[in-house]
């Protein structure tokens, strides 16, 4: 479903992605973790070309993302993206936030899109908040609207960049539950997170990054109980000591 081959990316002199090789199968749930600045965000932002890559091949759902001539609108319609800071449109209601892309990109009729938006917001547990503006919602609710916004495009893949790290602890659970629901439904998910309980429960594999490299890829149990590298061990002890 997602395939990185020898992908390299630089910001000026900074080598942020260093020879990335990674295959993610359809229906797989992958958790990406690693220290701050290791390139996790960059990695998943490349998947829908929010950031372009400079070298290598990146193929998503048989479409070549590395190729400048690929029509990205089509690729992006297949990929939902959820940001750490929600990035909801503040001038639109929850419902409008979810329907704008279906109407403008998928050319859906407004009534159909609203029907879809209502259903999707209900799925994430926000049936009675559809007319609320982002400012009237709690952080957890905002993030669930953002997830619904991604889901409304009926994507094959959902990408999450630290979806819970801007949330108060009591709201983390509701968002993780929503993501778990998607995992059980068989969607391909790539989640950047340090929520190790979540990773252990739903991830098929954990990808550990450091300094632009993928250092380890392993099933969660193996990674948590028996990390193969020193850097992996150091990272685990640093987040578990919190």
């Amino acid at each position: 479903m997602i395939s990185f081959k020898n992908v390299n990316k630089w910001y000026g002199d900074l080598h942020v992605l260093n020879n990335i090789d990674l295959e993610i199968a359809a229906g797989e749930v992958v958790v990406v973790c690693g220290p701050s600045g290791s390139g996790k965000s960059t990695l998943i932002r490349c998947i829908n070309r929010l950031e372009p890559i400079q070298e290598g091949e990146l193929v998503v759902d048989n479409m070549a993302v590395h190729d400048k001539n690929t029509n990205m609108t089509k690729v992006r319609a297949e990929i939902g993206f959820v940001f750490q800071s929600f990035n909801l449109y503040p001038h639109m209601t929850a419902l409008q936030n979810t329907t704008i892309a279906p109407i403008k990109v998928r050319k859906m009729k407004k009534a159909d899109a609203e029907e879809l938006g209502r259903e999707t917001l209900a799925r994430v547990g926000l049936k009675d908040r559809i007319y609320s503006y982002p400012a009237q919602l709690s952080g957890g609710q905002q993030q669930r609207v953002a997830i619904a916004r991604g889901l409304c495009m009926n994507p094959k893949i959902m990408l999450f960049d630290e979806p819970t790290s801007a949330l108060d602890p009591e709201m983390i659970g509701e968002v993780l539950d929503t993501i778990k629901m998607l995992a059980k439904g068989g969607m391909t998910l790539v989640v950047v997170t340090h929520e190790m309980g979540f990773a252990r429960e739903v991830a098929n594999r954990v990808v550990f990054m450091d300094d632009g490299h993928i250092v380890e890829v392993a099933p969660p149990i193996d990674f948590f109980t028996n990390a193969q590298t020193e850097r992996g061990k150091a990272f685990l002890s640093s987040i578990l000591s919190h």
Binding site: N48, L50, M72, T73, K74, R76, A77, I79, G80, F81, F83, S85, N87, L88, Y89, P90, H91, I100, A101, K104, V105, Y133, P134, A135, A146, R149, G150, M153
Partner: protein, 222 residues
């Protein structure tokens, strides 16, 4: 003597009204043209094309860095030398439109850049085209930042329109200048001129202040 002049001045009121009409015509046309051109240039200036951005930047600097009076003289006296014949009215409208556009350009670009980057990214991620992003996500949010200074700029442009009297456009200021030759009571004549401008500008200044307060409240709520 004073009451005689006052009586004379009242008799010149129709002349002043013609001046008001001329000021409204010059300023009105320039505000419309300036707004259209200013928005287009502002959108480009906040965009990605480095060359266009730099070209617009130089234009803005030249317009901001030189007095409007000099700009009018350049357009009125020099363009004819380049084969473009202009009457005073057209020269005035071109000059004031150009001035207004350059200031609105900076206001619009600033407004667009004030919208957090994440908003565009979220829109890109859901596949919205550049045009749709601008139209539905960025501009509606930028308008909060744009609107108060935009109205403020309208006031500045209306006031600057008085300078076109220097090339003989018979606007409010020019009417005052003619009248003061006949009625040598400068305080009275230009008091009236001031009142007429005040009547046009004061409501707009208050509108700008109102919008500013309203927009601040709205952004805080958001």
């Amino acid at each position: 003597m004073w009451s005689f002049y006052f009586h004379e001045l009242m008799r010149s009121l129709p002349f002043f009204m013609k001046g008001v009409w001329m000021t409204v015509a010059v300023a009105g046309l320039s505000l419309i043209a300036g707004t259209v051109v200013g928005f287009i240039c502002g959108i480009i200036r906040a965009g990605r094309n480095k060359i266009l951005r730099a070209v617009i930047g130089v234009w803005v600097d030249i317009v901001r860095g030189t007095p409007f009076l000099v700009q009018i003289f350049i357009i009125f006296f020099i363009l004819p030398g380049a084969g473009i014949e202009l009457d005073a009215f057209s020269a005035a409208v071109i000059a004031l439109s150009n001035l207004t556009a350059s200031f609105i350009c900076e206001i619009v670009a600033g407004g667009i850049l004030s919208v957090p980057k994440g908003q565009r990214e979220a829109a890109t991620a859901s596949g919205l085209s550049q045009y749709h992003q601008l139209r539905f996500i960025v501009l509606p949010q930028a308008m909060r930042t744009i609107l108060p200074p935009l109205v403020g700029q309208y006031v500045l442009s209306i006031k600057d329109s008085s300078v076109v009297s220097a090339i003989g456009v018979v606007d409010i200021t020019r009417v005052g200048w003619f009248t003061v030759q006949r009625i040598p009571e400068g305080i009275m004549v230009f008091g009236l001129v001031g009142l007429l401008y005040f009547a046009i500008c004061y409501p707009l200044i208050n509108l700008s202040g109102y919008l500013e307060r309203r927009m601040t409240v709205m952004t805080i709520r958001l």
